[in-house]
C-alpha cells in the first residue's frame, strides 16, 4: 500500500440536489405537491376554509410531535402521550367549568404535563427501565384512571374565555397555527444552537460516548421528558379548546399518530437524528392526506393504512442509511 492510497480523499462526490434530498425538503415538496394534485381533481380541496380546518384541527398533533421528536432523538420513546393529552384536556376543562381563572385553566395542564412526564423520565433514567415499558404502564394508569373518574362524560358549558384555540392574533392568525409554528421554530432553534439541545443528539447518538464527554445521560433524559410534558400540555389545551365540548376520554390512537409524525418527519427511531421541523411538516402532511382522501372519494378509514405505509417507508430508508454509514 502506498501513501497515496492510504490518504485518498474521502470526500464523496457531492450529491446533486443534496439539500433537496433532506427529509424536511421532501416533506415540504410532498405537502405542496399533494395540495396541487388533489386540487386539480377537486378544487374545493384548496378552499381557504378547508385548508385552515386541516391546520386548525391538527396543530395539536404537530405540537405534541415536537416533544415526541425530542424524546425519540434522545434514544427513547413515549406511548403515554395520547392518554396524557386526554387527561390534561379533561383537567383543564373541568377547572374551567368549575370557574377557575382562565390563567389557571391554561397553566394547569402545562405544569401537570411537565410533572407526569418528568417523573417518567426519572424512572427511565435513574432506574434504567426501558422507556417503552414505563410509558406503557403510564398509558394504562392514565387511560384507566380517566375513564374511571369521569365515566367518559362530556364536559359542556365551557366559558368562552377558556377557548384558547379561538383567539386570532393580529385578527387573522389563529392561535393553534401560531403556537404550532412558534413551538416548532423555537424548539428547532434551541435544539440546534443550545448546548443542552446538542446533548440530546449526543445521548441518542451514542450514550456511552456522551457520558465519556462529561454529558449526563440521566439529566438529559429527564429534561427531555419534562419538555415533552410541556409540549403535551400545550397540545392538550389546543385539543380541549377547539370544540365547544370535551369528551373526557382518550382520543384513540393519538400517541401513534404523534409518533408517526415524528418518524415520518425524519426522526430516527434509533435515536440521534432528526429535526422538529421535519416532524411538524409530517404532521401537516398526514392531516392533509386524511382530508384529501375525502375529496377524492376514498374512505377516510384508509388514513391509518396510509400512515402505516409512510412509517414503514421512512423507517426502512433510515435503517438502510444507517447500515451504509456503518459499512463505510
Amino acid at each position: 500500500m502506498t501513501a497515496a492510497t492510504l490518504f485518498r480523499a474521502e470526500a464523496e462526490p457531492r450529491r446533486l440536489l443534496g439539500v433537496l434530498a433532506s427529509q424536511e425538503a421532501l416533506l415540504a415538496i410532498a405537502v405542496i405537491g399533494l395540495a396541487i394534485v388533489v386540487g386539480l381533481d377537486n378544487p374545493r380541496f384548496l378552499a381557504t376554509r378547508n385548508l385552515s380546518d386541516v391546520l386548525l384541527g391538527n396543530a395539536y398533533i404537530a405540537v405534541a410531535a415536537v416533544g415526541m421528536s425530542m424524546v425519540i432523538i434522545s434514544g427513547n420513546i413515549d406511548i403515554s402521550v395520547g392518554s396524557l393529552i386526554g387527561v390534561l384536556a379533561t383537567l383543564s376543562g373541568t377547572l374551567a367549568v368549575d370557574g377557575a381563572p382562565t390563567a389557571v385553566t391554561w397553566l394547569a395542564p402545562l405544569l401537570v404535563g411537565i410533572v407526569v412526564m418528568g417523573l417518567q423520565g426519572v424512572v427511565i433514567a435513574y432506574l434504567r427501565i426501558p422507556a417503552i415499558v414505563v410509558t406503557l404502564g403510564m398509558l394504562s394508569i392514565l387511560k384507566g384512571g380517566l375513564i374511571s373518574v369521569t365515566g367518559g362524560k362530556w364536559i359542556t358549558d365551557l366559558p368562552d374565555s377558556f377557548h384558547l384555540a379561538d383567539i386570532e392574533l393580529f385578527g387573522f392568525v389563529p392561535m393553534p397555527v401560531f403556537l404550532m409554528i412558534v413551538a416548532t421554530l423555537l424548539a428547532a432553534w434551541w435544539m440546534r444552537y443550545s448546548a443542552r439541545g446538542r446533548a440530546i443528539y449526543a445521548v441518542g447518538g451514542n450514550g456511552e460516548a456522551a457520558r465519556l464527554c462529561g454529558i449526563s445521560q440521566r439529566r438529559t433524559v429527564v429534561m427531555v421528558f419534562a419538555l415533552h410534558g410541556f409540549f403535551a400540555g400545550i397540545a392538550a389545551l389546543l385539543y380541549a379548546t377547539q370544540l365547544r365540548v370535551i369528551q373526557s376520554t382518550v382520543p384513540p390512537n393519538l400517541e401513534l399518530t404523534i409518533i408517526t409524525a415524528s418518524v415520518v418527519g425524519g426522526v430516527s427511531i434509533l435515536g440521534g437524528v432528526g429535526t422538529v421541523i421535519g416532524s411538524t411538516l409530517a404532521a401537516v402532511l398526514i392531516a392533509e392526506i386524511a382530508s384529501a382522501l375525502v375529496f377524492i372519494n376514498v374512505s377516510p378509514y384508509w388514513i391509518r393504512a396510509v400512515q402505516g405505509v409512510l412509517i414503514l417507508v421512512t423507517v426502512i430508508a433510515d435503517i438502510l442509511r444507517r447500515r451504509r454509514m456503518a459499512g463505510a
Binding site: 492510504l6 464523496e12 443550545s194 448546548a195 451514542n206 460516548a209 465519556l212 462529561g214
Partner: protein, 513 residues
C-alpha cells in the same frame, strides 16, 4: 517457503491443512499467506500477539467468513467453507472464548441443539437425547454434570465441557479452542487438559489458542507462531523454549514507526498510589510527568483499560489516591475528570468515542462545549473555528465539517476522537489503543501528533497491545498482568523480549519451575 517447512515437519498425514490463506479487511491486511496443518490426534497451538491474525484464521477455518485467497483441506480434499454449517459438516467444531450456549436450556438440549435425535412424526426424542448425552459424559469421565441440568446454573468450566460435548455429538474430528483457559480456575484447567488428552487419544485434532506459554508446553505437540498476519514458524514444542517463542512472537522491526522525540520531562501531572478497583485494578501506583509518554503494555484482559477507566472516573476507585498536578483529587465521574484536565480516548471508538450520526463539527466540539457555549448557547463561529483547527491540526480527511462522522475511515474517526479531547486543552491524555485497526499511514500520523503533544508539555499515558508501538513511543514502559504492574522499564532497558516475557509471565513460570 513457510508452507514447505510446515508440511515437511508433520510426520503423519495432516487431517486439516490450511494453505496460503489471505484475508484483508478495509484498511487492514489481516492474513497474508498463512499455512499450517494439524495431524490426527495432534494438539497444535496457535500463538501470536493480539492482532497477529489468530482470530481471523480460526474464523476462516470455522466458516465465519471466507478467505480472499487460499484453501482449507480436510482429509486431503479441499473444502468450501462458506458458512459455519459447512465447517460443521467437514467435522470442524469451534469453541469460542465467549461460550455460545442457551442458558435457559438443559445440558442435553444444548448439546443437541440443531441436530436432536428424532422419534416418529418428527418429534424430538427426549429420551434418546438424554441417554446419548449421558454416554458422552461417561466417555469423557465427567461425573459431576447431569444431562438435565440447566446450563445457566453451571460453572464456567462445566459450560465449557458442555461445548466440548456438543462438538463431540456432531462427530467433530477437528476441535478449535480459542483461549479456553482465559476464564477458568486452576482446577478446571487441569480437567480441561485431561479432556484434551482423551480427545487426542481418540484421534481428534485440537487447535489450541492461548497466550499462556506454560499451557502450550503442557499440552501441545507443535506450535505455530503468527505475527502481523504472517506465518513466522512452526516448531515442535519439544524443540523450543519460551524465550524462543516470545522472540518469535514479538520480533518485529520498529523502524516503520515514528519514534518519540526527546523532550524535557517536567513535573508529575498524574500520580496514583495504591489505586484499587476490583476485580482488575489491584494496588496500582504510577506517575506520569509533563512531556512524558508512559506506555502501558500487557495482554488483553490484564486490566489496562480498567485502570484507565478508573482514573477517568468511569468506574471510580474504591481505594487509593490520585493526584493531579500535585493536588489530591477525587474523581467520581468523567465530567469531574474532564474538569481536572484529564482526557481519555477510549479503546473502542465505535461504541465509546464517536457519535456516528453527528457531523465532524459536532463531534469535535462535544467534549469542549463549555469552551464554545456561552449562556447555554453554542457560538457557531467559535465552534466552527475549533473544529476547523482540529481538522487541520490532525489532517482529518473529510469532505466538509458537515460530513457525518460515521462515514469516515477508521483512522480519520480516531483522529476526531483524539482531537475532540485536545480541544479541551487537557494536562493528561490517556490513550487506549490509539492506533488499533487503522492503516500504517494514519498510524504514523497519530504517532507524530503524540510526539508533538508531549513536546508541548502534555503528559500521556498510552495503552497499547502492540509492543513495537509501546517501545517506540514511550519514555517509560510499565507492564501489567492480572491487574497489577509487574515490571517497569526505562526507554533504554525496554526490549521486546523483556517486555514480552513480563507480559506473558513466563519469567515467573520459569522461576517456579
Amino acid at each position: 517457503m513457510a508452507t514447505d517447512q510446515a508440511r515437511s515437519e508433520a510426520s503423519p498425514p495432516p487431517l486439516l491443512s490450511v494453505r496460503d490463506i489471505e484475508k484483508s479487511f478495509p484498511g487492514v491486511r489481516a492474513l497474508s499467506g498463512v499455512s499450517f496443518d494439524v495431524a490426527q490426534g495432534e494438539v497444535h497451538a496457535l500463538l501470536g500477539e493480539n492482532g497477529a491474525g489468530k482470530s481471523t484464521l480460526i474464523k476462516i477455518v470455522s466458516g465465519v467468513f471466507p478467505p480472499d485467497r487460499g484453501e482449507v483441506i480436510v482429509d486431503g480434499r479441499p473444502v468450501n467453507l462458506e458458512r459455519p454449517d459447512d465447517a460443521r459438516r467437514a467435522g470442524i467444531a469451534t469453541i469460542y472464548q465467549e461460550l455460545l450456549l442457551f442458558p435457559e436450556l438443559t445440558v442435553a438440549e444444548n448439546v443437541y441443539m440443531g441436530h436432536a435425535p428424532r422419534a416418529g412424526l418428527g418429534r424430538l426424542d427426549w429420551r434418546a437425547m438424554r441417554e446419548k448425552t449421558g454416554e458422552l459424559l461417561a466417555s469423557l469421565e465427567i461425573h459431576d454434570l447431569k444431562a438435565d441440568r440447566v446450563v445457566g446454573a453451571l460453572s464456567v468450566g462445566n459450560r465449557q465441557r458442555v461445548e466440548i460435548l456438543r462438538a463431540l455429538s456432531q462427530d467433530a474430528r477437528i476441535l478449535i479452542m480459542d483461549e479456553p483457559t482465559a476464564a477458568l480456575t486452576e482446577y478446571d484447567v487441569t480437567r480441561l487438559f485431561d479432556i484434551v488428552r482423551k480427545l487426542k487419544a481418540r484421534g481428534v485434532a485440537v487447535i489450541y489458542i492461548s497466550h499462556r506459554l506454560d499451557e502450550i508446553f503442557a499440552i501441545a505437540d507443535r506450535v505455530t507462531v503468527l505475527r502481523d498476519g504472517a506465518h513466522v514458524a512452526t516448531k515442535r514444542v519439544a524443540d523450543t523454549d519460551s524465550a524462543e517463542l516470545v522472540q518469535l512472537m514479538v520480533g518485529r522491526k520498529i523502524e516503520s514507526l515514528f519514534p518519540k522525540i526527546t523532550v524535557p520531562i517536567g513535573e508529575p501531572v498524574l500520580e496514583i498510589k495504591d489505586l484499587e478497583r476490583r476485580p482488575l485494578t489491584k494496588k496500582i501506583s504510577l506517575t506520569v510527568r509533563a512531556g512524558e509518554i508512559v506506555g502501558l503494555a500487557g495482554l488483553v484482559g490484564s486490566g489496562r483499560s480498567e485502570l484507565a477507566q478508573t482514573i477517568f472516573g468511569v468506574t471510580p476507585a474504591e481505594a487509593g489516591e490520585i493526584r493531579i498536578a500535585g493536588k489530591k483529587v477525587e474523581i467520581r465521574s468523567p465530567a469531574q475528570a474532564r474538569a481536572l484536565g484529564v482526557a481519555y480516548v477510549p479503546e473502542d471508538r465505535g461504541t465509546q468515542g464517536l457519535v456516528r450520526p453527528m457531523t465532524v463539527l459536532e463531534n469535535f466540539s462535544l467534549a469542549a462545549l463549555g469552551k464554545v457555549a456561552f449562556g447555554g448557547f453554542i457560538d457557531r463561529a467559535a465552534e466552527r473555528k475549533l473544529a476547523a483547527d482540529g481538522v487541520k491540526r490532525f489532517s482529518v480527511k473529510a469532505s466538509s465539517l458537515e460530513q457525518v462522522a460515521g462515514k469516515l475511515s477508521g483512522g480519520n474517526q480516531q483522529k476526531i476522537v483524539l482531537g475532540k479531547w485536545l480541544a479541551n486543552q487537557p494536562k493528561l491524555l490517556i490513550l487506549d489503543e490509539p492506533t488499533r485497526g487503522i492503516d500504517v499511514g494514519a498510524k504514523a500520523e497519530i504517532h507524530r501528533l503524540m510526539g508533538e503533544l508531549a513536546a508541548q508539555g502534555l503528559a500521556i499515558l498510552m495503552i497499547s497491545s502492540e509492543l513495537p508501538e509501546v517501545l517506540g513511543m514511550s519514555d517509560r514502559v510499565l507492564v501489567m498482568r492480572e491487574g497489577r504492574i509487574v515490571a517497569e522499564f526505562s526507554r533504554a532497558e525496554a526490549t521486546q523480549e523483556a517486555a514480552g516475557a513480563a507480559m506473558m509471565g513466563s519469567q515467573e513460570a520459569e522461576k517456579a519451575a
